[in-house]
């Protein structure tokens, strides 16, 4: 019986799954925009970590949330000035 129901209403088409997915996406944006300084903190931390590996242009660094149809992504653009020389292996 349940199997039959699931075939007639495939999981992703159930309106509750659509509601849940929309909610998940909208809350990513809501929560990020309620605390805009959080992106600035994240940017600072990112710069610090990445600088251990390469020299980057922190003024030119940008980080943002972008949303597509079904997902939200964190997009960072970090211009590299110079790569550090790493001790190679023999």
């Amino acid at each position: 019986m349940l199997d039959l129901l699931n075939k007639v209403f495939p999981k992703d088409n159930r309106s509750k799954d659509i509601a849940k997915e929309r909610l998940r996406l909208v809350l990513v944006h809501d929560r990020a925009s309620v605390a805009p300084q959080f992106l600035e903190h994240l940017k600072g931390d990112l710069i610090e970590v990445i600088s251990r590996y390469m020299e980057i242009d922190d003024k030119g660094t940008e980080i943002n949330l972008t949303s597509g149809e079904e997902s939200v992504a964190l997009v960072a653009s970090i211009p590299i000035k110079r790569m550090k020389r790493h001790a190679g292996t023999w």
Binding site: M1, S15, L23, R24, D30, R31
Partner: protein
């Protein structure tokens, strides 16, 4: 010294006033002394839902402006021992009271009552700030809809910012048959998304409409599923571990079919 709870939501019309009235009545039925405080200044409703609208002489604004003493403004609900209402002003606006004044009134009520239930207005402006100002804990009401849950999330953040303990959630107007079909978000979906603890689930119930028409909270009606849910929530507020009632007890179509066919679930 009693405890104050604010009933709030973000989105309007999800059932804050209904919840405040029913929880207050239920707590009074459990033998507690309860003050209901309508913080929705300018749009008072709690008096009507409680059926006490004809007994108002003074209101919250009269109290903070010093026109009367707190005791004079409290309306005693003669039907339920220990239940009182402090009505909001209908003709003033939300700025007529400050958060500090609210804190004072709630503090004074807590000296007399076991529970002070504060009915918050919708939104996140001054009225909400007032309602939260005197509260020890917050209860968030939502319905199982995207917009209501979204606004609940915002309110949870503001409650955290106000440094109240983690709020708890009441999901109102659940329709078990729709949940079963996958056409309404279920409780677990909402708890997961909001990362919040559940205080209770109240089903959609026509008796709420009938009881609101009459000015008699559904919690007093034995046959009301929502009333039963509210009585259970009141016991949880007191600290009793009451299990969630089964919302399918009446039997949706699917359940009855399954029974007929010899399955049980």
């Amino acid at each position: 010294m009693g405890e104050s709870l604010v009933i709030t939501s973000g989105k309007g019309g999800v059932g804050k006033t209904t919840t405040t009235a029913n929880l207050g009545t239920s707590l009074a039925l459990l033998g507690r002394k309860v003050a209901l405080l309508d913080a929705d200044i300018g749009l008072r409703n709690l008096d009507v839902v409680m059926g006490l609208e004809n007994r108002i002489v003074f209101d919250l604004v009269d109290v903070v402006e010093g026109y009367c003493r707190l005791k004079q403004a409290l309306i005693k609900d003669k039907r339920f021992e220990g239940l009182y209402l402090l009505p909001a002003a209908q003709t003033k606006d939300k700025t007529a009271v400050s958060p500090e004044q609210m804190k004072g009134v709630v503090g004074e009520l807590k000296e007399e009552f076991d529970y002070v239930l504060i009915d918050s207005p919708a939104g996140i402006e001054q009225g909400f700030k007032n309602a939260v100002a005197g509260a020890d804990r917050a209860v968030i009401v939502t319905t199982p809809e995207v917009a209501a849950v979204r606004d609940a999330d915002r309110i949870i953040g503001l409650i955290e910012a106000a440094e109240l303990p983690a709020p708890k959630l009441i999901v109102n107007r659940i329709r078990p048959s729709m949940v079963k079909k996958g056409d309404m978000m279920d409780i677990d979906d909402m708890l997961e998304i909001l990362a919040i603890e559940l205080l209770g689930v109240v089903p959609e119930d026509e008796m709420i409409v009938v009881s609101t028409n009459r000015g008699e909270p559904a919690a007093t009606l034995q046959g009301s599923r929502a009333g039963e849910a509210y009585r259970n929530i009141a016991r949880r507020i007191q600290g009793e571990p009451v299990p969630l009632m089964s919302l399918e007890a009446e039997g949706g179509l699917l359940k009855r079919l399954k029974k007929l066919m010899g399955f049980s679930s």
